[in-house]
């Protein structure tokens, strides 16, 4: 445990940093393996039910099967659907026909030039429970706090709805609930964790796309899965948010993706804004000194 609060960089034990004693529980998190997501949205439903998250009415966004749109105060899990047209694997030299069911009529060689196969990317997004969480750093009331599990939770009885956490989050996760005024987001089912249960979304996920566990173990599991996929020729598979030396010190909830993060609506290289806070205060102090000097200077010299 260190006495200096680190704003960025490597940090093995965020709960310890926040002041929990050494016997606090292991840091937990999610590993969301999007390569096995089937887009059933069981996670979205289970989350809403367990956490009593209000509905937002029926929105038809016209964006594939995604009618949730984004994470927010009333959506703590969000399944993204991306339809990509790709050259039909059966007509490319490198591909093998796996006998998977296709869409549309069998391929004609002439049309294959453009590529008429297609693939789905589906991914269940969630609060990243950052190692260095900007939302928590900027919260002026202490409503956002680090739990003994290393997760980040809003205490709704303290939040005064200042809204600072909302533009601070580099992932656009946390939102203000309409008609309520306070900020809400995933708690990683803090109440369930206390009872030794896994979060509702992970419990409901039928394919184990959402895996809950101790973060260290999840990272190992993810590394193994990535190696497996690469071996199977899925070269585009990559881990997102896994590295403890990224801009937010690694995510408590990280992902295996099959395309670039921005395709899923994720920032490619997020950085916790408070990394630069010391530099910001230095500039502000210099500017304040300039203001003071200017006022004094203005009163020197002739009176009228």
């Amino acid at each position: 445990m260190s006495s200096v609060y680190r704003l960025s960089g490597l940090l093995a034990d965020p709960a310890g940093e926040a002041g929990y004693r050494d016997d606090h529980p292991e840091r937990v998190g999610f590993f969301t393996d999007t390569s096995v997501c089937i887009g059933c949205k069981a996670c979205e439903v289970a989350c809403k039910e367990w956490n009593l998250v209000p509905e937002q009415g029926l929105d038809l966004l016209g964006q594939s099967y995604d009618n949730t749109g984004a994470l927010g105060a009333d959506s703590w899990r969000h399944v993204a659907f991306i339809e990509q047209r790709v050259p039909d694997p059966s007509v490319t030299s490198s591909g093998t026909d796996l006998g998977m069911p296709g869409i549309g009529a069998p391929e004609q060689p002439a049309a294959a030039e453009e590529g008429s196969g297609m693939r789905w990317l589906m991914s269940s997004d969630v609060c990243k429970h950052c190692t260095h969480a900007a939302c928590l750093d900027v919260c002026p009331t202490g409503s956002l706090f680090r739990t003994e599990f290393g997760t980040v939770v809003v205490q709704e009885d303290i939040c005064n709805g200042c809204g600072y956490c909302i533009p601070a989050c580099p992932y656009g996760v946390i939102g203000q609930r309409e008609g309520d005024g306070r900020a809400w987001k995933c708690t990683l089912c803090y109440d369930r964790l206390g009872d030794g249960l896994e979060p509702a979304c992970a419990k409901a996920c039928p394919t184990d796309s959402i895996q809950f566990g101790d973060l260290d173990e999840l990272r190992e599991r993810a590394d193994r899965r990535l190696a497996e996929l690469h071996q199977d020729g899925v070269g585009e598979a990559r881990l997102y948010g896994r590295d403890p030396d990224d801009g937010v010190g690694g995510d408590g909830a990280f992902f295996l993706l099959l395309d670039e993060p921005e395709v899923y609506g994720l920032p490619p290289d997020p950085v916790v804004t408070t990394r630069d806070l010391p530099a910001m205060w230095k500039h502000a102090a210099a500017a304040a000194a300039s203001v003071a000097a200017t006022v004094v200077l203005s009163f020197l010299g002739r009176r009228r």
């Binding site: 693939r119 070269g235 609506g265």
Partner: protein
């Protein structure tokens, strides 16, 4: 695994309802990556403007006190108290739970500019109110002087902490502007206070305020031009649309106020018009900067492009 192979993916997909691509930037249906600030307009831009006006006015009043410029003491104290109270009002009105405003003072958190700001704003509004009260009623003048002096010391911090407040977010155009934004706001606060003095004091008493306005305007214009030159792609929102128009108006008003404050310095009416121009410039600056940030959060391009550049710079993308 039904996932196609890497080679098959070399062409990024481009379908009418698939990922949207603009300028080589891919995104999820063009949706924003960040949440745009929920801070209300006009509440928060007004809070930024009034805080700056109040801060510089308090400092002006306390130096005027030391140098015996009685009229500037009066105007400065009143503008400081009025600005501070209105600023607090705007902040409270913006909260999702205004009744819980005092939770701002529940803890002191150096990592939160809003916490630090609240701990500056709360004593500042108390002190400026006390000094303005003493000014208006003539009661306890010594205590009023003391309060005014302390407020004057907090004044410069009032002028610039709001820049950190905006910069300490993921909003690209605010965050990246952190080196210049406090100078921009500080300079603007100086000419806002000069503006209040030009409106509220007789021309024979405003000489120091005129100088303060000129120096503040110089600081503001230098900071804003440096900022826009340095920022590159995330500087665009400061030049485009309504935000660009507001900031252009702010610069024009600043220049107009500065020129008129000098050539019209013997005329009460011309001085007052110069003062109003300065004040309007300060408001336009805050509304423009605020809007530019919101626009940069809305467009995934401003989030993805700089991050991609950074990754390329590290050889990672």
């Amino acid at each position: 695994m039904s996932v196609p192979r890497k080679e098959a993916m070399s062409e990024p997909a481009r379908t009418p309802d698939g990922p949207i691509e603009a300028d080589g930037i891919r995104s999820y249906y063009g949706r924003p990556i960040l949440k745009e600030p929920v801070w209300k307009v006009p509440d928060v831009p007004s809070y930024l403007f009034l805080g700056g006006l109040a801060g510089a006015s308090a400092s002006m009043a306390s130096v005027a006190e030391l140098t015996g410029h009685r009229e500037l003491v009066r105007v400065g104290r009143l503008a400081a108290a009025g600005g501070a109270l209105a600023s607090v009002g705007a902040l409270i009105h913006d909260l999702g739970r205004p009744a819980r405003f005092l939770n701002m003072l529940r803890v002191f958190k150096p990592t939160s500019p809003l916490s630090v700001g609240s701990w500056i704003l709360a004593p500042f509004s108390g002190l400026t109110s006390a000094s303005a009260g003493a000014q208006l009623t003539g009661v306890l003048p010594a205590a009023g002087r003391l309060a005014g002096g302390a407020a004057g010391l907090l004044g410069p911090a009032m002028c610039t902490y709001t820049a950190v407040l905006l910069s300490d977010t993921a909003v690209p155009s605010w965050h990246e502007a952190y080196p210049e934004l406090p100078f921009l706001f500080g300079g603007s606060a100086l000419n806002s206070a000069a503006g209040a003095a030009l409106v509220g004091a007789r021309p024979c008493a405003t000489r120091p305020a005129i100088r303060m306005g000129l120096l503040g305007s110089g600081l503001e214009l230098a900071a804003s031009s440096r900022m826009e030159r340095r920022l590159g792609v995330v500087g665009e929102p400061y030049q485009r649309g309504r935000a660009g128009a507001l900031l252009t108006a702010a610069r024009a008003l600043t220049v107009a106020g500065a020129v008129l404050s000098v050539i019209g310095r013997r005329s009460r009416a011309a001085s007052a018009i110069a003062g109003v121009a300065y004040l309007a410039a300060g408001a336009c600056t805050r509304f423009g900067v605020f809007r530019a940030g919101v626009n940069s959060a809305r467009d995934p391009r401003y989030v993805v492009a700089p991050q991609r550049d950074r990754l390329r710079g590290r050889g990672g993308g």
